[in-house]
Each structure stands twice: as structure tokens, then as C-alpha cells.
């Protein structure tokens, strides 16, 4: 079963993602950037779901650190964000995210499609 790292500070969003994704993927949860970077480096997931608005180190900075790390550079990273402003998709893709999912999550199919598109072929 593929392993997904979920980096999300809101407990209710982690609970939701576990409910939606838990049957198909092993989820490893982090509620802050420092723990996430440490955990991802030692227990490399197949894909990262990364909240943008985290306290302290935000999602964009975490992504930049992942992309600067030779061992993690190619890791697929999907932005999870409650931002919903025009141009956000382009902004986050330009920043180096592989895809972008908005919260609240309305369509679980959209989430599954993004994950399956980016997971390494098995």
C-alpha cells in the first residue's frame, strides 16, 4: 500500500483525510513543518499532501526545502489549501507543487485522481 505523508495542522482535516484515504493508503500524519521535514527524510513517503497555511514554517517553505534536498527532490507534493482566490492554482504550480486541492473537500474523486496521477507507477 503506498504511503502518503499528510502535513496539516487542523485535526479535523487530518481526520477527514484519514477517513477518505485510509482504506487505500498508509497515512503518516504531521501537524507542523519541522516534524514533517524530519519524518519525511527518515521515512520517505510515496507522496506528500501539504497544507499551505501552517503555523511557523508554511507549506511553500517546506516545499522549497524538499526540492532542495537531493534525496527528496522528486517527491510528488500536492498543495492542500483553503485559499480559493483567482490565480492560486497557477501560483502554487509555479512554486513547484505538482497539483493543488482546495478545501473544503467536496469531491473525493478529484483528490484520488490527483494522487493516482502522481504516485509512482506500481
Amino acid at each position: 500500500m503506498p504511503t502518503l505523508a499528510v502535513v496539516e495542522d487542523n485535526a479535523d482535516n487530518r481526520l477527514l483525510l484519514q477517513a477518505i484515504l485510509g482504506d487505500r493508503y498508509d497515512l503518516v500524519e504531521y501537524d507542523n513543518g519541522v516534524d514533517a521535514l524530519s519524518g519525511i527524510a527518515t521515512q520517505r513517503p510515496d507522496l506528500v499532501l501539504l497544507d499551505i497555511s501552517l503555523p511557523g514554517m508554511d507549506g511553500t517553505e517546506i516545499l522549497q526545502r524538499i526540492r532542495r534536498d537531493g534525496a527528496l527532490r522528486a517527491l510528488p507534493v500536492i498543495a492542500l489549501t483553503a485559499h480559493a482566490m483567482a490565480g492560486d492554482r497557477e501560483k502554487f504550480l509555479a512554486a513547484g507543487f505538482d497539483d493543488y486541492i482546495t478545501k473544503p473537500i467536496i469531491d473525493e474523486g478529484e483528490l484520488f485522481a490527483a494522487i493516482e496521477r502522481l504516485l509512482p507507477k506500481r
Binding site: 487542523n10 481526520l15 477527514l16 477517513a19 497555511s53 482566490m85 478545501k103 473544503p104
Partner: protein, 123 residues
């Protein structure tokens, strides 16, 4: 979303049904418990930030409340968070007052309604 009396529903039942589809009543109970526990704290943080003139803290508190409210279908709270967060991100604190007031008025009603939903799901 309007109810049978033509009033704007305090919680959009379709959102709750969607959550049931994602993870059954267990997920709804868990989400409601976390919301009822955390949302009033976020609202208090937003009020404190507003009173202190701290736009960044206000934006952060409203942002955190926003996604939870949206996921549970607390439509008026969600809309007020969106509007307030956008204003706070531009440093426009004054107009945030009406959105904060909306949150403070509606959030107790939302929590009460969600508690009923949670109780019904246990029964």
C-alpha cells in the same frame, strides 16, 4: 441554502451528508466534536487579534476556522471567515468588525445544531 421556512440554514445538511459519504457517522461525530471544541477558541483568538489590531493573527485565526466551517457546512460562518480573512490579509481591520460579529452571533447556533446532529447519530 434555505430551510423550509425560507430562512438561511445555519448548517447546510448537504455538507453533513457528504461527510457521511466520506466516512459514515463516525466521521461526522469526530468532525463535530473537534469543531465544537476548537471553533470557539478560534473565534476568541480572532476577536483578541482584532481588538489588538493584529491583522496577521486575525487572518490566521479566520483561516483556521474557515476550512472547518466550510467542511461542516456552516455556511454563514464560512462566508464571514472568507470575507474577514481577505480584508485582514490586506490589513483592512475596520471592515472586519461586521464579519467577526457575524461569526460570534452564528457560531453558538452552529455548534448547537451540530451537537444535535452528533447526538442523533449516536442514538
Amino acid at each position: 441554502m434555505r430551510d423550509q421556512a425560507g430562512q438561511t440554514a445555519i448548517v447546510d445538511e448537504a455538507a453533513v451528508e457528504r461527510l457521511k459519504g466520506f466516512g459514515g457517522v463516525k466521521l461526522v461525530r469526530g468532525m463535530v466534536e473537534l469543531f465544537v471544541q476548537n471553533a470557539p477558541v478560534r473565534a476568541s483568538e480572532a476577536r483578541e487579534a482584532f481588538d489588538c489590531g493584529d491583522a496577521a493573527a486575525l487572518r490566521a485565526a479566520l483561516h483556521a476556522l474557515k476550512s472547518s466551517a466550510g467542511q461542516l457546512g456552516a455556511s454563514s460562518v464560512y462566508a464571514a471567515c472568507i470575507a474577514g480573512e481577505e480584508l485582514a490579509s490586506r490589513g483592512e481591520l475596520g471592515p472586519c468588525a461586521m464579519h467577526l460579529q457575524r461569526i460570534e452571533t452564528d457560531l453558538p447556533l452552529v455548534c448547537e445544531h451540530l451537537e444535535h446532529i452528533r447526538a442523533d447519530s449516536v442514538a
